[in-house]
Symmetry: C2
Subunit: 411 residues, 2 copies
């Protein structure tokens, strides 16, 4: 069986490398006689590259080559990846992608076309890089009703937060180092504003709960507003701040989905996930909490997930793997204003007694946090669980100048 | 498709419960019209049980019932489970088991018979309880050459060690609580002496490295000799003591496999795995380190892994899942005496200067550890990496009365 790669960037070239390096064992596991990379689509030139002879700039060279049964899409972005993937599926080719933007935007439709054409559309690498998560949810947790998923889904922001937590570095300084190390783009907004994590929680929520969740349905907040003072208050509370994507199934057929910074307890398996590592917690009704941990990005880890999908496509070239989800339905994702959490608040005051009185009037009993070196006119506290809308009303009434508001979790 | 269960203990009754509770979604995922539990084999009586009508004491009622396509074996032990499983496979029935003793002793043969009969033999629940590990190794990490596996594979010993580490409880006191809570058997030897973990590392090593590893080839040491002083020295070193099963692939086609207590750094993802939880670290050449964490035992978590296998068998009733390993070969598992580690030693002395001089003479530079409250005539130190055989010679020569020797890891 022949393979083509569309997009020879970091992941695409990694796929070529892994296919070559572990060729013999990969072919054996695929149960095919051969798995050969025969075409690479990229508009750029790669003079001197070991795969130089395989390059083409014309998508039709892949589409019209009947020997190509599996197409790897590692271009990124929705367009033209969507058109190319759709055409490949309609031509009876299986497609493997690492493109979370594509799956979050078009996953439901592409899975349906794959089903109609009796081919596979797989995307293990789109969430958690090399961490096995899509397939375990489909296969291994099949006996469970999944109630919740929560994850550290973006390595760049986790690297920045780790520097802030462990080394007391500011957000700006940590971002600069991340950019120097190649962990963050020159325009870091997709990462630091939570958009990347949002796409991933959309894919996980769609898979776990059965209906497509689109990025614009998910309340998304990044880490650009996190101050070192917040990190210290989190320590005083007994935890750390992580950027969490999370989704929960409610009893009435609705779900919640959200990306935001969150306090998590040090005892949580998610708290010790540092640097560019990712971890995803799945809460099932029979199994309880399961956590999957590993490298959420990077050339070879991500490529290894893509190649595992290629092997699976090759194994199942006759019989399609059965999974998918339905399209979005109205009022499926609850408004984030209706979701209850405890909230951490950092605020400054002019009169401490008046501030505390107004907090008590608004929230009743709260947990005050302190740390050595805190600003004299600042306080930090954690409320009881309260819906966002109610919280917003109450905090507006209190005699405080609010610095930060961060959700508190029990993961 | 009909299902039978052999052995209605904790796991077997859990399987019946999960099959019933999540029946609709399980049948849907199985792609069968129906998945019905029709027979339960157990020599005991269960008057009033909701499945009372399904019980039989005669194995032939399952073997000769052609409507039964999948048999769940949750009896435990090698005999008569082995005879029953073999007969079922030969009769063309797929078998799902949670029985690590059976798989560690007979896995290679049973997989071969399953292959010959074109049926499935699956055992996700035999390692790590509900944690997905067998299937991710087969499928998701297919692009990797796996170099190492290490895991906290036994919940009972991990519970005891957690009590010793976090609450300063002695081994004996912690074991008593584990027994009261039902985490440890009245005869706890299979757990505390490491036999259970040994069976599990045999299964993992067989799967990852390609040849069957039998329990009697694996050096196995339990936790019965761990003293609270060792726990304190581990803290001083910056780590914790865990019972680890681990296996490593060497370049020359040989492997190592071992179960023993080990020092692991607090920064390791395995260090925070507490109580009855398990975690398994897999190190692949492309993916790096991946960790799978969850409940390693318990009725519903283990049953959920069994039922996931049942669903997979039902899905693949026409096309067998392809995996397995070859039989054992001579000199495949290296002698544990040849394996190099750093060693932690706790020892008492009569003359401190003479003791330290003899340690320097034997081991060169070592790292001394101290903690508040250590016995006055005792010392703790960590050596450079050294083969066990060499270590044994050197420690015998030193002027010390050795209290503990514990291997030091870099996981």
């Amino acid at each position: 069986m022949n393979i083509a790669i569309m997009g020879y960037g970091v992941v695409g070239s990694g796929v070529a490398e892994v296919l070559k390096k572990n060729h013999a064992s990969i072919v054996k596991k695929s149960t095919q006689d051969e798995l050969e990379l025969v075409r690479i689509l990229d508009l750029r030139d790669f003079p001197g590259d070991e795969n130089e002879k395989l390059f083409t700039k014309d998508f039709n060279d892949i589409l019209n080559d009947d020997s190509i049964g599996i197409v790897v899409e590692t271009m990124g972005g929705v367009n033209p990846a969507y058109d190319f993937v759709l055409a490949c599926l309609k031509a009876g080719k299986s497609v493997v992608t690492s493109n979370k933007e594509l799956v979050a935007a078009k996953g439901c439709e592409l899975l349906r076309v794959a089903e109609e054409m009796n081919v596979n559309f797989m995307f293990e690498a789109s969430v958690g890089g090399g961490i096995p998560i899509i397939r375990p949810i489909i296969n291994c947790l099949a006996a469970n009703e999944i109630d919740e998923i929560a994850g550290i889904l973006n390595g760049t922001t986790n690297f920045i937060l780790t520097k802030m937590i462990n080394e007391g570095m500011t957000f700006e300084a940590a971002l600069k180092i991340a950019q120097e190390l190649g962990y963050a783009e020159r325009d870091p907004s997709a990462d630091v504003e939570g958009k990347d994590a949002c796409r991933k929680i959309c894919i996980l929520a769609s898979l776990c709960f059965g209906n497509h969740v689109y990025p614009d349905e998910v309340y998304t907040e990044g880490i650009t507003e996190i101050a070192l003072a917040d990190v210290e208050y989190a320590k005083a509370w007994g935890g750390v701040i992580k950027l969490l994507g999370r989704a929960t199934r409610y009893g009435d057929g609705k779900i919640s989905a959200m990306v935001s910074p969150a306090f998590i307890r040090c005892s949580s398996q998610l708290a010790g996930v540092d640097d560019v590592f990712n971890a995803i917690l799945v809460r099932g009704d029979a199994i309880g909490d399961v956590v999957f941990y590993g490298r959420g990005a990077g050339k070879l880890p991500t490529a290894s997930a893509v190649v595992a999908d290629v092997v699976d496509c090759a194994r199942h070239s006759a019989s399609r793997k059965v999974f998918g989800w339905e399209d979005s339905i109205a009022d499926y994702v609850v408004n984030y204003k209706d979701i209850k959490h405890p909230f951490f608040v950092r605020a400054s005051f002019t009169d401490e007694a008046a501030a505390k009185q107004s907090i008590a009037d608004a929230f009743g009993e709260v947990e005050y946090l302190t740390y050595e070196g805190a600003a004299a006119n600042e306080l930090g506290f954690v409320t009881a669980p309260v819906a966002q809308s109610e919280f917003d009303e109450k905090i507006a009434k209190a005699a405080l100048t609010v610095g930060s508001v961060i959700r508190v979790t029990d993961y």
